[in-house]
Amino acid sequence: MSDSLMCSTEFCNAGWSEVLTHMSPYGYANFGIAFGLGLSVVGAAWGIWLTGSSLVGAAIKAPRIRSKNLISVIFCEATAIYGVIMAIILANKVKKPDLQGDGLPENWDWHGYYYAGYGMFSAGLSVGLTNIASGVSVGIAGSSCAIGDAQDPSLFVKVLIVEIFASALGIFGIIVGIIQSNACNFPIQALEN
């Protein structure tokens, strides 16, 4: 029992807190970028095939709905664009340190270093998870919009309002993500003390 708490090699971790803090902030930041972009695209794609299949089927008997209902697809696409925007913002903040030699110096800005890593990871998750929800709900609403529009043209604008509210969820995600990542800056050089 006590053996498991003693480190047998020099690179082991003494506990879970060390596992988390030993993961490099650069790793956290880049995973945040990947999650933000990847999950947003999953949500957008989910929404597009939900609405696209109904749109194609309903347009067989009512060809006039083809152009108007592409708006639903565009709303889904917008959630993917939020993910791309967030990913580009975050990717520009990840900077390689301008140092010589091995390891980080003693007067490294550790606070800013870790803050940047965690901040970018959570910003990516904020955007990604909200965009999955937004994409799916826009997709389901868009599918009903296409089918309803084929029967009664006056329904289109009404269901579109539902879709607008659904896509607002993705906007929440990117707003919060930008706020979270604003103060994140990876230090490039050691602090001047």
Binding site: W46, W49, L50, S53, S54, L55, V56, G57, A58, A59, I60, K61, A62, V136, G139, I140, S143, S144, A146, I147, A150, Q151
Partner: protein
């Protein structure tokens, strides 16, 4: 007989469209092809069948009636049924499991009807070609299969031979084998010739019963919204069958006390709101009063039964059943992402075809006072809709 449960369930709101979004959207698009109140109004105002043809060219039936020289009720029915069959076959080719099995189940009913038509037709000695022409297109077998059905004798041994050689390969084979099993158990291997005419009706009711139960099991294995919607529709279907069997058995040998327990009981399907308490009461019902007392306990059927009691030429119990069916089938279009719309579309189209045939028959026979006794589909003036205003 159990059709295996589907490997991929239809899915909920978020996943239904992967496999079934396209066919569902096609069916919902085809909803716009139903005749409107205005169309029915114009049709009932027509004086001759040529006017009817003119009016139909403005509706979705324009292609079907365009190559008809003169319109008759039978030719209109044939053209409308062919249009429905074309649409159904198009849908069927676009679908994937489990929706394709679902659509196949809908056709089994027509297959059973065709088999019974051929068997009954040879009893009365009609020509095979004439019978094949009358078969419903959705339930056709291979030509050779259909031609060989009337060649069998209409007794227990004949039916067993019919099953072994012809029907075992068809989708309705399992139902026939269960019927043979049951009649073998009942009779103990002897041949009964007493009720040859009634026997055909019993065969048909038994086959429909097995088909309903199989369909019901399949539908409940689908789960989710499809199971809820279709479960309701099949339950009322089974109840309609049970009530009709009981009602039609009054005055026939099937209604004798000895026969009721053994034979009539076996015809009631094992699903529906009347099962099991209602059907066990129906077994002992001897006349219409008893049937009325039994149905009083089920509020959804007591109102329909009252229509029958009021009687007269205005509305029969079949009309009441049609009205109730149309109301429920229209409700199947309300929710999205379930299989009920496919079944509802076919049944509502059939109702529309019945309406068209009724209207043209009334015009042909110059019975204008009867012409409004049809049940329009998706009508704004339906009794359950007007209550809101």
């Amino acid at each position: 007989m159990a059709t295996p449960a589907p490997e991929t369930p239809p899915g909920n709101m978020a996943t239904f469209n992967i496999l079934h979004g396209f066919p569902e959207a096609i069916v919902r698009g085809m909803r716009s092809s139903f005749l409107l109140d205005a169309d029915y109004h114009h049709l009932t105002q027509c004086e001759t069948l040529d006017d009817v043809k003119l009016n139909l060219t403005e509706s979705d039936y324009s292609e079907s009636v365009s190559d008809m020289a003169t319109l008759t009720p039978t030719s209109l029915q044939a053209a409308a049924v062919n249009k429905l069959v074309t649409e159904f076959k198009y849908l069927r080719t676009q679908t994937i499991e489990p929706l394709s099995t679902f659509l196949d189940f809908i056709t089994y009913e027509y297959m059973i009807e065709n088999v019974m038509l051929l068997l009954k037709g040879t009893l009365s000695g009609r020509d095979i070609n004439e019978l094949i022409a009358q078969c419903h297109p959705l339930g056709m077998f291979k030509e050779s299969t259909m031609r060989s059905i009337p060649t069998f004798e209409s007794n227990a041994k004949g039916y067993a031979d019919l099953y072994q050689t012809v029907l075992v390969d068809t989708p309705v084979g399992p139902y026939f084998s269960m019927f043979l099993q049951e009649s073998h158990d009942r009779v103990g291997g002897e041949v009964r010739n007493v009720l040859e005419e009634v026997e055909i009706e019993i065969i048909k009711s038994s086959l429909i019963k097995y088909w309903l139960e199989d369909f019901g099991n399949f539908v409940s294995s689908l789960g989710g919204e499809s199971a809820t919607m279709m479960g309701e529709l099949l339950a009322v279907r089974a109840d309609t069958n049970a009530i009709n069997i009981t009602l039609n058995s009054f005055g026939t040998p099937l209604n004798e006390p000895a026969m009721r327990q053994s034979d009539r009981k076996r015809l009631y399907p094992a699903l529906g709101y009347l099962y099991p308490a209602g059907t066990s009461m129906l077994i002992d019902v001897a006349d219409e009063d008893g049937l009325g007392r039994c149905l009083e306990l089920f509020p959804q059927y007591s109102s329909i039964w009252n229509v029958h009691l009021v009687g007269g030429g205005d509305k029969s119990i079949d009309d009441a059943f049609y009205e109730r069916d149309v109301q429920m089938l229209e409700l199947a279009f309300e929710g999205q992402m379930h299989f009920g719309v496919f079944y509802a579309y076919i049944k509502l189209k059939e109702q529309e075809i019945r309406n068209l045939v009724w209207i043209t028959e009334c015009i042909l026979q110059q019975q204008k006072e009867e012409i409004n006794k049809f049940v329009p589909v998706f009508s704004q003036h339906a009794p359950w809709r007007s209550k809101k205003r």
